[in-house]
């Protein structure tokens, strides 16, 4: 049966409430008698706390209570870290500091007041004695004996880890050339447009706590918070209403989430905290933060023989949920899309007096891709080869998949040549090189950058994940024939309400308007893992797909029973379940495939079907759903109802890939970098909704442009956060972005039955090196082989105008 919905550019069913301003994010939920919380946060990067005097603040009208870390003691369990590495040092991380503060923004006290303005006022009236302590900010300095972040550990090294296969020493020793380069993946702030927010309400009678939180992982958060505050997990309900973006920053369990739950239990009233943007940049996780050293060995024909990456990972002062694990993803992806026989990563994870780093869109893989793609360009530059030629030389061939890397992975499927060829064609690569030659003759500074990337997605098999790599779905057909889907993959902008409904409508043969997708409420939805790691469609969507298969198996049996036929004689087709052979379809084809972009919610309400079976040769799923609920005539021993739940455990990751090409021109007078073209060909396997895939890729590329050119979380040597607001932290604006020319190839995976791979992070992984490679290419006549991010016009200007950089 041809798909009516899957594969089409369908506009989203979730949009009407969002474009009308009628959706509900956490701060839009208003409960009577809600108290408001504001935090006093450390203004120092490292200090011993002396007296904390809250007496003046408590006298202010409207102030209800103030809690400090000393009040809490160990009443709330530590903020969890799921990255279990051998010999990992784990500092005791509580929601509020008691004796020491370790970074600017470290929460010290929570003020509870009747009004959010009063709560903020009262924060200023709390007197804290700080005894300043030495600070360490630079990760290399921290590793090599700088000031101690946590004195009790004796050094700042949280862990060391070596991974990779092949004899790297021999590979580098026997290589024709070994090229070395230091590279920096600067700290970034995820900046979801909706900051974090928590609303907690404890009902003392029912002994039930509900926490509304802007999170990507409602179920995992429920489990952890229940453990932290000691409430039975089945008495804690977590609801993620509309979530205004996450990018990994809400793939976490934060102290504030547990603390608000606990305070609500103390006061018996709802309490709300909405993070300010300043708090968001201070105390919501950062991403990246790697300083590393590349050694790449190659033969003189461009064959890469070995790659070593020694990296200092700037973890910050504490571990959040996945902090130490992020660099391990970098290690896994160091083969890129190349056959490299020997690979080694040596990670030194270090504490610094800064906010924790953790998963930011891409989470370790953009760092790896940047390292590999810069390394390939360094090889090309060293050998005087074209960057495309070096890439081709080291690609595995399409018939070599599943392809085993020296990092221990099996890439599921790929055709790297095809994506590269398409991108080169779309960009007109040969012409661009001609144009560049001319430009150089005219004294213009033009560069072309290529990145051929592969990413690890659809996280993942449970073996490789700290808290389960599966995802769940329940599919239910209600007595009226409407379809309800419960997914554990709670979205925050990805559009699962549409894409999952597309899958369901096709598989169930119903209209998409008859499908409702419910998510983000732990009391309604079966346990799930969440939306991150480009996994929602490939893992969560597959759970929907297989749950429907299960449901149809049962429906098939009911159909056979009602049609008084053997199960083997009943087939599924356009008319539902029919006796074989399926009766010719006359009327149904008249309308044909529905027009694109069906407005959701405008289908006529289906009349309640009568369970009239006699004489029928086919039964729709709706007929069967009603019969299953009336349960007057079901096969012997069959459960009434028509629903199925499936927990899908993938057997491997998926490995989407692609080629990005950036073309830039540099202004000699100002050092400014202008995009002339941006061409991307991405392969994320089978596509459910091309419109949504384009949106994911575009958004990701623009975050990459942010990393390449604009964004950096800057702390000064005292650990003061210099980029503490959006005035100083440069998120890309519309004017900074070129038109993005997107295209796709489609190489399905066999990891899941739909062949989908995932696309949420492709842009942030593939684009950054393409942009930096383009800039380096532009500057190569000036002897430049590498330049660090963010590439600021002043640095470029200095190179172009031959001023010695102060770096």
């Amino acid at each position: 049966m041809p798909n009516k919905f899957v594969g089409r550019r369908m506009k989203r069913t979730e949009d009407p409430r969002l474009i009308k301003g009628l959706a509900h994010y956490v701060d839009d939920i208003r409960l009577p008698d809600t108290l408001h919380i504001a935090f006093l946060r450390s203004m120092y990067a490292h200090a011993r706390l002396g007296a904390i005097d809250t007496s003046e603040a408590l006298k202010m009208p409207g102030v209800v209570a103030i809690y400090t870390g000393r009040d809490l003691g160990k009443k709330i369990g530590p903020v969890p870290c799921a990255g279990a590495l051998p010999d990992l040092k784990v500092p005791d991380h509580r929601p509020l500091a008691s004796d020491h503060v370790y970074f600017v923004g470290h929460p010290i006290a929570a003020v509870v007041a009747t009004d959010r303005y009063v709560a903020r006022d009262a924060v200023d009236q709390i007197m804290v004695d700080y005894e300043e302590l030495p600070v360490v900010v630079d990760p290399e300095e921290a590793a090599q004996g700088g000031a101690l972040v946590h004195e009790k550990f004796g050094d700042n090294i949280a862990y060391k880890l070596t991974a990779g296969e092949g004899d790297i020493e021999a590979a580098l020793a026997s290589a024709g050339k070994v090229i070395k380069q230091k590279v920096i993946n600067q700290r970034l702030a995820p900046i979801a447009m909706e900051p974090r927010g928590v609303l907690a309400r404890y009902l003392p009678g029912e002994e039930e706590l509900t926490i509304w939180s802007s999170t990507q992982i409602p179920h995992l958060m429920r489990t952890q918070v229940a453990l932290m505050i000691g409430i039975p997990e089945n008495k804690l309900r977590v609801i993620t209403p509309e979530v205004g973006g996450g990018f990994g920053s809400k793939l976490n369990v934060y102290g504030e989430e547990a603390l608000l739950g606990w305070i609500s239990m103390q006061l018996g009233k709802p309490v709300k905290w909405i993070e300010t943007r300043r708090e968001n940049i201070q105390a919501t996780i950062h991403g990246r933060g790697q300083v590393g050293y590349i050694e790449v060995g190659c033969q003189t024909d461009g064959t890469i023989t070995g790659l070593r990456y020694n990296v200092f990972a700037d973890l910050g002062a504490y571990h959040q949920l996945l902090t130490p694990a992020i660099p391990t993803l970098t290690g896994l992806m160091l083969s890129g899309c190349y056959k490299i026989p020997a690979i080694q990563i040596n990670v030194t994870g270090v504490f610094t007096n800064k906010m924790a780093t953790d998963a930011y869109r891409g989470a370790g893989r953009p760092e790896a891709t940047y390292v590999v793609e810069r390394a390939v360009d360094l090889v090309a530059a060293e050998l005087g080869m074209d960057v495309v030629e070096v890439r081709r030389k080291n690609f595995p061939q399409p018939n070599e998949f599943p392809f085993k890397t020296a990092t221990g992975l099996f890439y599921d499927s790929g055709n790297y040549q095809a994506a590269l060829d398409k991108a080169l064609e779309n960009a007109g690569y040969a012409n661009l090189r001609e144009e560049q030659k001319k430009a150089r003759e005219e004294g213009r500074i033009m560069g072309i950058g290529v990145s051929t990337y592969v990413e690890i997605c659809a996280l993942g098999p449970s073996q490789a994940m700290p808290a389960g790599g599966w995802e769940s779905a329940t599919v239910r057909i209600e007595p009226t024939g409407k379809v309800t889907i419960l997914t554990g993959a709670s979205p925050h902008g990805q559009g699962q309400e549409t894409s999952f409904a597309q899958i369901a409508a096709d598989e169930l043969g119903c209209d998409i308007a008859d499908v409702t997708v419910i998510h983000g409420d732990t009391s309604i939805v079966q346990y799930g893992i969440g939306t991150f790691g480009s996994r929602a469609t490939a893992v969560g969507g597959t759970a929907v797909y297989i749950a429907i298969e299960k449901l149809k198996e049962k429906a098939n049996k009911i159909a056979a029973h009602l049609l008084k036929a053997d199960v083997s004689k009943v087939v599924w087709g356009e008319n539902g379940f029919s006796l074989e052979p399926e009766p010719a379809k006359a009327a149904a084809s008249a309308g044909g495939v529905p027009e694109p972009d069906l407005p959701a919610g405008q289908a006529p309400a289906a009349a309640l079907p009568e369970p009239e079976i006699d004489g029928k040769k086919s039964l729709s799923l709706q007929d069967i759903a009603l019969a299953a609920h009336l349960a007057k005539d079901l096969p012997p021993d069959m459960e009434p109802g028509l629903s199925a739940t499936y927990f899908f455990e993938p057997k491997n990751f998926t490995f989407p890939f692609g080629t990005h090409i950036a073309v830039v021109e540099i202004d000699r007078e100002t050092g400014e970098i202008e995009f002339k073209r941006y061409v991307a060909v991405d392969d994320c396997g089978k596509v459910i909704n091309p419109l949504l895939v384009d949106g994911q890729v575009q958004g990701g590329i623009v975050q990459s442009i942010g990393q390449a050119l604009y964004e950096e979380v800057v702390y000064d040597e005292q650990g003061q956060l210099i980029t503490g607001t959006l005035m100083d932290y440069a998120v890309p604006r519309a004017k900074m972005i070129p038109w993005l020319e997107l295209d796709r190839t489609e190489t399905p995976t066999d990891v899941n039955p739909m062949g989908v791979k995932g696309v949420g992070e492709a842009g942030t992984i593939g684009a950054t090196p393409a942009i930096v490679n383009a800039i380096v290419d532009a500057l190569s006549p000036f002897g430049v082989r590498h330049i660090d991010m963010p590439v600021r016009p002043e640095n470029v200007w200095k190179i172009v105008n031959a001023v010695t950089s102060d770096k």
Partner: protein
């Protein structure tokens, strides 16, 4: 000391007493319950709080409610007339101009202002007109297309 103000919001004038320091965005959200207008940065940089104040797009997080006394304010909730979507809302829906939706109300309001000043803007002009509004999800391309859709439709 509270101050009495009267603001016409989405066609209805409301008389309220507010603290002089109350921000317009909190007046709209907390007093009137119009939560479609969002707060994203408190420093007038992200534009999530954009509303029309006497026809001008302004950042309601850096205006006091008392400054809007006697003025007309249009929020995202007031944009659809008689239940029909505004062409700009339609454009955002048709062209997938939103993902998480948090910047969207402010973005749509700001975009209507672009077309008011220039009914047929180039892509360059649209991008320039959106400089006061941040979106972290879409990469802006679909937003540019949404504004072009609305321009054609109007």
């Amino acid at each position: 000391m509270k101050k009495a103000i009267g603001i016409n919001v989405n066609g209805t004038t409301r008389q309220t007493e507010v603290e002089p320091r109350m921000l317009l965005v909190h007046y709209l959200r907390d007093v009137l319950g119009l939560t479609g207008t969002h707060v994203g940065c408190e420093t007038s940089l992200c534009g999530a709080c954009t509303v029309l104040l006497d026809g001008q797009a302004v950042k309601s997080c850096t205006i006091f409610a008392v400054q809007a006394d006697g003025a007309e304010v249009t929020t995202i909730e007031g944009l659809a007339a008689n239940g029909d979507l505004h062409a700009m809302q339609e454009g955002f829906w048709e062209r997938h101009g939103l993902q998480c939706g948090y910047c969207t109300p402010g973005m749509i309001i700001a975009a209507t202002q672009i077309l008011e000043r220039n009914s047929n803007p180039s892509q360059e002009e649209i991008r320039h007109g959106l400089e006061g509004n941040l979106c972290r999800c879409t990469g802006y391309q679909h937003i540019v297309e949404a504004v072009e859709y609305a321009a054609k439709k109007q």
